[in-house]
């Protein structure tokens, strides 16, 4: 009995041909790629196929989806931007030679921030970097942080370079818009990821428990889901944030993440529960029971890995929703504290200065792109993990 099916001159395999269920994953796959240079494709696949796992199949399917790929690239671009925000937009040089000594102020700033080092020179500590006389200096592409006021240059329109370099313009206080966008990506991305991380943890845990153990556990969890679904989440967040308005900026940001997460797990829990209910009745789970495996082992080795695909899709959509929620909160002024610049708070500034169109357009585009990308990724994942691909 051969393992590899050979399709020597198969043009297109009709849907019905799969009804015997034999090697369905590969059949579906061949079906989709049937049009373009089949032979090369096939030879290539034969090499890879030797140890192909489910996720490898999913990845290949995902790659065929152009919008989803673009979405992933955009997200990756934002992630890189967020990671290197201090090197992209900062009010101090990346590397400089000052009075005969080399400095790396941006990195130095991190060390000072966590208390490992001090600035040493007074002119450094005063944050007057631009007034110093350097022997050599390399500046970040945007020589401002998101908080730097430049009152001489308030409401500069985009693309009007004078002796300043506010590429995308400034707001009322002369804060650079591009710097704000770059630094704001940190908040937006981390809110999405942390909030959904919390939601996923709660949702998967409760969903799996409900689905696997059934009975009263299921009843309790299902009622809990329904209860939470009835919360007017947005107003709940506004209320909670209002109570803690005076706390530390970072603590407040985390509080917002936590609240979004704690009120956003229901969808994931429902999906996880449904999937677990399906997988639980598969014979390999029965077999695991017959082999005497413990419940945790059955859950983590047999049930969970087979029920996570739809949850992954929900997570992608959930991140998009969390980013939107944060933007909406900041726009209303209930979100992150005023000292922290986010895309949402930039938008809310545009509200008062309608003629400064750039203040509305650019942060809007960023939010739009982020949410769109996560939705594209979610769509792509849903298609790539489609049950027709199921093994």
């Amino acid at each position: 009995m051969g393992t590899e099916p050979t399709y020597h001159d198969s043009q297109k395999i009709p849907e019905g041909a799969q009804s015997d269920g034999r090697l369905q994953g590969e059949l579906t796959d061949t079906n989709l790629s049937a049009n373009d240079n089949e032979k090369k494709d096939k030879a290539e696949r034969k090499k890879k196929d030797d140890n192909q796992s489910y996720w490898r199949l999913v990845r290949r399917q995902y790659k065929k989806n152009r919008p989803a790929r673009v979405g992933l690239w955009i997200i990756m671009f934002f992630v890189v931007t967020a990671l290197f925000a201090d090197f992209l937009a900062n009010n101090k040089p990346i590397i400089c030679k000052y009075q005969g000594t080399w400095y790396v102020p941006v990195v130095h700033e991190y060390l000072v921030g966590i208390g490992f080092s001090s600035w040493g020179k007074e002119e450094f500590a005063n944050d007057k970097w631009k007034e110093l006389d350097y022997d050599v200096s390399i500046w970040p592409p945007v020589p401002y942080t998101s908080r730097d006021n430049d009152l001489d240059n308030s409401f500069v329109a985009p693309f009007q370079t004078g002796d300043h370099s506010h590429y995308l313009g400034t707001d009322q206080l002369g804060r650079d818009l591009l710097a704000g966008l770059i630094h704001g990506s940190r908040i937006s991305l981390s809110i999405g990821i942390v909030a959904m991380g919390i939601a996923t943890l709660i949702g998967v845990l409760l969903g799996v428990l409900a689905g696997y153990f059934g009975g009263w556990v299921d009843i309790v969890v299902s009622r809990l889901i329904e209860l939470f679904l009835n919360f007017p989440v947005f107003f709940l967040i506004i209320t909670i944030v209002a109570f803690y308005q005076d706390s530390e900026p970072n603590a407040l940001i985390f509080l917002i993440m936590a609240v979004i997460g704690l009120t956003g797990w229901m969808n994931i829990a429902r999906l996880a529960r449904g999937e677990v209910l399906r997988v639980r009745n598969m014979e390999y789970v029965t077999a695991a029971g017959a082999l005497g495996f413990s419940s945790p082992r059955v859950i983590f080795r047999h049930v969970l890995p087979n029920s996570l695909a739809p949850v992954l899709v929900a997570i992608a959509f959930g991140i998009a929703a969390a980013v939107l929620t944060e933007a909406a909160l900041s726009f209303l002024g209930f979100g992150v504290p005023p000292t922290v610049v986010t895309w949402g708070s930039m938008l809310s500034e545009a509200r008062g200065n309608v003629y400064a169109w750039w203040l509305a357009i650019f942060p809007g585009i960023m939010i739009f792109l982020t949410v769109l990308s996560y939705n594209l990724v979610g769509d792509g994942l849903r298609d790539a993990t489609d049950p027709r691909l199921k093994l």
Binding site: G25, E283, Y284, F293, H302, L391
Partner: protein, 342 residues
């Protein structure tokens, strides 16, 4: 065979599933999937359990290896399932808790019907076969386990390098071989084969059946073979029990039951087996009327009386007792004689 050693005694096994409805989830009915089944299995013989879909044969198998309660928490199980260990110890599997059952899991195993859903798609074949060993033979080293997996792969007719592959890369027959290897991993005493070949092509069926016969000898394992295909069961079994609607209605040596079916239901079942030779001249062909009654609301007395061609009014009075029609051939019908057409 004077020194027949007992393997399994099932005594008056009943498996009932309550049905709940309404907002208060009141119990409104009971599905009597298995309703008083008794049989004995001896070492060295294969018992075939036959019956149509829904007659409870799978439930019997699952209950013997004590996974009915795992799948349906509210199942009500009564009766005794006495397992005689090779060392003479006797354990009652019925209603044994999950924890107490665990030490015996390596002795009783199961081969499943659907080769497509009985293997975890996210694990390689190697991992699938190795997993029972990691649980039940913790003293084995990693290398020993790997060696045993390779040995098992070889015995079931797969190549060593196929161990790294995933189940979806195999055909149905190959998957069933993997399932057999998994069941054999811990060297069990008894394997419940739940329609192991009914999902396979006929040509592959024969290969798998023959493989199982070979392995039975090599691994000294006993089979309880559940199937609806009588010719398959006749080939592999030493004795056959015919089930109908939760009851065993006929019980005897495989040739006795296959060539000389006596209970009216067995006769109807056997006459449905297609014959390759049109001139073989089967005397009559019994065609049953109507459907199997629902196990929710079974007929009183003999469960078969609603469809029985020779039913009489007094069939409604209690389940008929077993009568030994010929040596070792028990039939639960007072109105038939072995070898005599009704």
């Amino acid at each position: 065979m004077s020194d027949k050693r007992l393997l399994l005694e099932v005594k008056d096994l009943k498996v009932h599933f309550p049905v709940y409805a309404g907002i208060f989830q009141r119990k409104i009915a009971t599905v009597k999937a298995v309703d008083g089944v008794s049989f004995t299995m001896y070492r060295g013989e294969t018992l075939g359990l036959v019956g149509e879909s829904g007659c409870g044969k799978t439930t019997v198998g699952r209950t013997i290896i004590n996974i009915t309660k795992l799948m349906f928490h509210d199942a009500e199980i009564t009766g005794e399932i006495l397992y005689h260990m090779p060392n003479g110890e006797v354990i009652d599997f019925a209603n044994l808790t999950k924890k107490k059952m665990r030490p015996y899991r390596s002795e009783v195993q199961m081969i499943f019907q659907d080769p497509y859903s009985s293997l975890n798609p996210r694990m390689t074949v190697q991992q699938i076969i190795e997993e029972p060993l990691t649980i039940h033979r913790p003293e084995m080293s990693k290398e020993d386990r790997r060696k045993r997996v390779l040995m098992l792969l070889d015995r079931v007719g797969l190549q060593a390098e196929q161990g790294g592959r995933y189940p979806h890369e195999f055909s149905g027959g190959q998957r069933q071989r993997i399932g057999i290897a998994r069941a054999l991993a811990t060297n069990p005493d008894l394997i419940i084969c739940d329609e192991p070949v009914s999902a396979l092509d006929v040509s592959v069926q024969a290969q798998v059946i023959n493989l199982m016969l070979d392995l039975q000898e090599e691994f000294d394992v006993n089979f309880l073979f559940i199937a609806h295909d009588l010719s398959v069961v006749e080939h592999i079994s030493t004795r056959i029990a015919v089930m109908y609607l939760g009851h065993i209605v006929e019980y005897g040596g495989s040739e006795q039951v296959y060539f000389n079916p006596t209970h009216p239901y067995s006769r109807a079942l056997l006459s449905a087996v297609p014959q390759a030779d049109p001139d073989s001249g089967r005397a009559t062909r019994t065609i049953l009327e109507g459907d199997v009654p629902t196990p929710l609301n079974k007929p009183t007395g003999c469960p078969f009386r609603t469809r029985c061609p020779i039913a009489r009014p007094d069939c409604a009075n209690g389940f008929p007792s077993f009568e030994e029609k010929e040596s070792g051939h028990w039939v639960a019908c007072p109105y038939v004689e072995a070898g005599v057409e009704a």
